[in-house]
Every structure is written in C-alpha cells, then in structure tokens.
C-alpha cells in the first residue's frame, strides 16, 4: 500500500516535470540540449504569458525553442542566444527581470518597505518604553474608584 502511494507520488512528480519540448526538437548533443533547456526556462512564452517556452505548448513557443537550439548549434553563447530573443521581444520575455534603472522600483521596493516599517516600529517601540507609567494623582485615583463603584 505504502509502496503504491510512494510510486504514485513519484509518478505525479515526474508528470509535473514534463516539459512541452517534443522529442523531434531535441538536439542530439546532450550538453547543448541541456543549455537550450536552461535558456528556454528563463524565457517567457508570449502567448501564454506566465509559462516559459519550455513549458508552453503554444506554436510560437515551439518556434522559439527551435530557434534557441539553432542559435546554440550555430555557436552562440547562452548570453548571445538570449540577447537574440530580447532584441526582438524586449526584456519582458525574461521571466526574471534584469536589474536595471527601469526595474529598480520592482527589485528594491520590498526592501525599502521593510526598512521603512522596521524604522517606524523601532521609533514607536522606543517611544513607548521611553515613557514609563506615572502613578495616578489623587484626583485621578478618586475618579477611578468612582468608575469602579459605578460598574458594580
């Protein structure tokens, strides 16, 4: 029973890892194919915009996969092959956006918010602990007693 379960889990995992790459697209050179898959996983499919071209079954993704493999076979470096695609489709095809002035807000705003809120919390807590409770004066104590009696 447990064995069957483990097998099922492994099988499900394997199904998830399945890429859309068709056997006919694959390069015979395993090193080149591995590089092509690594590049393809970084590139966004323009048709179904949250999938990489390695995962997508769209026609354009297929064409781009074949294109990447052609570029690598022709001797392009990984960076050259990626640039070939970004020259045509812009930085948006990169699933991981590059760190450049236009994306500083995207990359650094979470840290900025963290720093700001930490600073705010620090000031708040410091002020709170800096002001110790003062004992009630006579008038306040009388008022408190009155209020407590009213409650009963």
């Amino acid at each position: 029973m447990i064995r069957a379960l483990i097998a099922a889990v492994i099988l499900l995992g394997a199904m998830q890892a399945t890429l859309a790459v068709e056997p006919s697209e694959m390069l015979t050179n395993p090193a080149l194919e591995a590089r092509a898959e690594a590049i393809g996983k970084q590139l966004r499919c323009l048709v179904c915009q949250n999938e990489s071209i390695e995962d997508s079954g769209a026609d354009l993704a297929h064409d781009l996969r074949v294109l990447i493999r052609e570029r690598l076979t022709a001797g392009d470096s990984d960076a050259q092959a990626i640039k070939y695609v970004t020259d045509r489709y812009g930085a948006f095809v990169l699933l991981k956006p590059p760190v450049e002035p236009a994306t500083y807000l995207l990359w650094f705003s979470p840290f900025a918010i963290l720093v700001l809120s930490a600073a705010g919390a620090w000031f708040y807590l410091r002020r709170r602990t800096a002001a110790p409770d003062e004992p009630l004066d006579l008038e306040q104590r009388r008022r408190l007693e009155r209020l407590l009696l009213d409650d009963q």
Binding site: D59, L67, D87, A91
Partner: protein, 180 residues
Amino acid sequence: MSWRRTTYLLPMVAFAAFAVYLSHGLAPGYNPELLPSALIDKPAPAFDLAGLKGEARLTNRAFSDEIVFVNFFASWCVPCRQESPVLMDLSRRNVIVLYGIDYKDKPADAEKFLQQYGDPYRRIGVDDSGRTAINFGVYGVPETYAIDRTGHIRWRHVGPLTDEVVKNEILPLLQQLGAS
C-alpha cells in the same frame, strides 16, 4: 510638537498613495498583456519572402522612401476577418500603403481568404516558417507595423485594427511622419 499629532496620519497617506498607484492597473482599457514593441525606432528587420499567388518576392527593400504599413495575417486567424473591413477601407481610400505578410498559412487558404474578404494589400509575402514574424517580435496575428521613409519601425499594433485605432493612432501617426 504639532508634527507628533499628525504623524498618525502618515500610514494612511502612504496607503492612499499606494492605492492610487495600484488603481492604475484597474483603469478601463488597460491591458497588461499589451507591451510596447522592442523594435520601435529601430530599423525594420530585413526579410525576403516568396510572393503569394506567384507574385514577385516581397523584401524590405521594396519599401523605399514612403511610409508603409506591414500587416501580419493568416487565413486561420479569426480576428483577421474582423479587421479586414478596416484594412479594405484604408486601402480603398488610399490612406496607407499596406503590405501583407501571410503568417504560417497555406497559400491556397490565403487566396481563398482574400477572395472572400477582399485583398487590401499592395503585395503579400509568405512567411511559412514564421521567422520573419519572430524578427519583428510578433506575438500572434494580426499585428500591424508602420515603417517610416528611413526604414525604421515607428508604430506597432497588436490585435485587429479598428476604426478607433485608425482615428486615434494611424491618422495622427501619418501626420506626425509627414505623409504626403
């Protein structure tokens, strides 16, 4: 110490500013899938395509000293049927010079499509492999590009052309580029 009394407003102000910023994403007509072309103001990619119906080959060298529009279409593309009347109207009124690139299509199907919906193009190239489309940065058909007299891409539209696009984008563009 009046600033102390107002600091409690600070988070609210910050939140309001952030909400206004995010609300841009909800603006009507905003489509996050539409992106500017990476090729705007860059030279149009070179291409050399077989002509449809045995016509002469279509190459980018055919675009000389005039503002041309290049429309990627296919007979299997439903929005292309939708934009066809707009293209026919532009072509009939000689508003633009329009070239067609038949994207991943069977020539026979394309010819049937043009017979049925009309042929607004001056000439048509057949992009069987889809490589010319990739060089232009095409996401999917229909897509339309404007190329100026110096061969630079100046404008791109994703999806079917409509009368609104003609009025709000194409006509001002022609004026800006100095159509004669």
